[in-house]
Symmetry: C2
Subunit: 401 residues, 2 copies
């Protein structure tokens, strides 16, 4: 059967140890290893439907309903051609039983991808988008083996979105990038108490994209090299150990230092890159102030190439953090429109803590809304028209199986 | 005669190569050498009057009319006791002729210091204030020799305000700090075409002082050490050569990179230090945008531990920069209240430049006012009641004579 169809979803992820700088632009090979938490797809995901048929005459791509030019997008092209080539190679190795897969790999595809979060909100969609594309193509063509090196070439951080839980992207050493892969260091079930608030802030500025930005940092920052050679490895070990031991204060410390160092090397770039705005810094102040008041690190912020914050905390503190956000950042939105995702109850910190925090509210509507979420699973196969595609993998979607 | 009186003024300075981090807190010894331009005292200065008499029973200090507690200020104490001790040692070496100086050094002092710029504006007043104190005390007690190591112990950057023109603060190697001194690398007459705009922005935030801030950076930043050991020295040479050759584009480049790296290591501090605000970044954008439009670096920004900008440019570009500031940052103030200091004519850049700049104005009153100034001379002896004090030095006030 040469008409095939799959629908998959893939999660976004937030970096704990940051990726900033490539040693090879063409292959998307990073200067350092990175580490992320996969965000729960119930709240942030890309959904991709792919169909193929001998009757299609061209590859087609729709992003949020808008037709994209594939010839003008070399990253998409790379992902498509590499998965097709992997399918053919696998088919040849397996002999006659895979003739159908080989044939399908030569057919044109119709791909449609959407996000369940507003793209305009400035939330990174390339990680979940490329993860969904590569995972979906892999399912469609029954490709076995690790797809993270292919996803990596679409978008570096996409290789981390092919797994659930906590995921390390090993920088690798090979020139061809074959060992620059993503793998899970702990599943999403390992640390159920973790909570993550994605805080979407109002921001009107034009943005330097992360691809162009990190390249400029590599070319002009005198501090990046030191970070890459002398700082990241130690922090990676600290973060992995903290996750393994569920040691929140240690993880919180390294999360915030990493975020701040990323934005420090951005500022050390010429001309300087600036992704944080005043609201980002207000959120940082709130977190430091809460931690000081409670006497240990019970919340942590991290920012990627934009002003939106990801706050890490634990279930036992989430209600207080929610209360603080709501009270320091007044909004015209209702509670239910402001807090999205997992349900959250606001509760004021105890008096002794409140007395130590500056509770003067900022002006209204600096934060658009907050997505309350947690660490989640990897890509999911939602549906397909061929049971053989279903059986080649479970719906937890570990692409590296 | 044991009743003596002096009135002196001392300039502020703006760092080109930044000082951030001490290797010895007690002696104010820096981790790296720094370089500054002395700002013209006609527009920014501290004025200090010191009188002494055998009838005074206590040292007294007034800052902008408010009495200060000297016992609670160890930096003031250090400066006073060290100049007195230098006067006594010099008197002993010189024998009978200096008996009066030795006697006066034991008398109490009445010191009154004021700034001709609003302290609340967040402009650094410690450099000019300590320079005026130390220069004035030196005059009062006829102390010869280099006073910069004493001024340095009041406020690090004060040792650069004891000279006019372009001043290097050599970090030195001695444990006692005796070779950590400030000296002039070029006089204020060397490069008359330079213009400096001090842009005072509106800012309501609480501020971490630079003394506490830099100590926190030393303790927590993993990038500062690299900057100090591998970056500063090369930039120092570049900047000194650029000044010597009056090569503005090269100087502009190093000025901006230094400013950005200072704020990068501040952000790499834990918890992060943030001195720039959104308006600071708008000013940075304006400068980069102007430089791109004219095709070379004709303006440069630099920021110390606060959101106010110092813009360097040349006489031939100053009118265009003034026009840009006035048009991008609308204000309710009149031109004459907005532009202070040297008179400045606004003139629009030529059409081809204007077309390349985003001329959308920001919202009103983000900038309070702008002080137009240039590189200026060192401390001045304004008046005294003893002609011997006048003759020991000229009024250009080179304390290192």
């Amino acid at each position: 059967m040469s008409d095939r169809f799959v629908e998959v979803t893939a999660p976004s992820n937030i970096a704990i140890i940051k990726y900033w700088g490539k040693r090879c632009v063409d292959l998307n090979l990073p200067l350092n290893s990175s580490l992320s938490a996969t965000l729960c797809q119930d709240h942030l995901k890309s959904t991709t439907k792919i169909s193929t048929s001998p009757r299609l005459t061209d590859d087609e791509l729709l992003l949020n309903g808008c037709k994209q030019s594939i010839p003008q997008n070399s990253r998409i092209q790379k992902c498509l051609s590499q998965i097709r080539s992997a399918a053919r190679m696998q088919g040849i190795r397996q002999g006659n039983s895979s003739l159908d897969d080989i044939k399908v790999a030569s057919q044109k595809m119709k791909i449609s991808s959407t996000n369940n979060f507003p793209t305009a909100a400035g939330l990174a969609s390339s990680a979940s988008g490329y993860a969904a594309l590569v995972f979906g193509m892999g399912k469609l063509l029954s490709v076995k083996g690790d797809l993270t090196p292919i996803a990596r070439q679409g978008s570096g951080s996409a290789c981390r979105s092919l797994h659930g839980g906590f995921v390390k992207w090993q920088m690798g050493k090979e020139e061809d990038g074959s060992d620059s892969t993503g793998y899970q260091i702990a599943p999403e079930t390992h640390w159920e108490e973790l909570r993550i608030f994605v805080i979407v802030v109002n921001d009107m500025r034009k943005k330097v994209g992360s691809t162009a930005g990190m390249q400029l940092t590599v070319e002009t920052s005198t501090l990046l090299k030191h970070r890459v050679e002398h700082v990241v490895e130690g922090r990676m070990k600290t973060a992995c150990d903290a996750i393994k031991n569920k040691d929140f204060p240690t993880l919180a410390d390294v999360i915030m230092r990493e975020s701040n160092q990323l934005h420090a090397v951005c500022l050390d770039t010429n001309p300087p890159l600036r992704y944080l705005n005043d609201v980002s810094f207000m959120i940082m102040d709130m977190v430091h102030s809460y931690n000081t008041a409670v006497g240990s690190l019970q919340a942590a912020y991290t920012f990627d190439a934009g002003p939106n914050a990801c706050l890490f905390t634990t279930k036992s503190r989430a209600n207080e953090i929610a209360w603080l956000i709501r009270n320091l950042f007044p909004t015209d939105s209702s509670d239910s429109d402001f807090f999205r995702g997992m349900s959250v109850t606001m509760s004021a910190p105890k008096t002794s803590v409140m007395q130590m925090i500056d509770l003067n509210a900022y002006s209204s509507n600096m934060i658009k809304y907050v997505i309350c979420t947690k660490v989640g699973d990897g890509p999911r196969l939602v549906s397909c028209n061929d049971t053989r595609l279903l059986s080649c993998n479970d719906t937890r979607g570990d692409a590296a199986d």
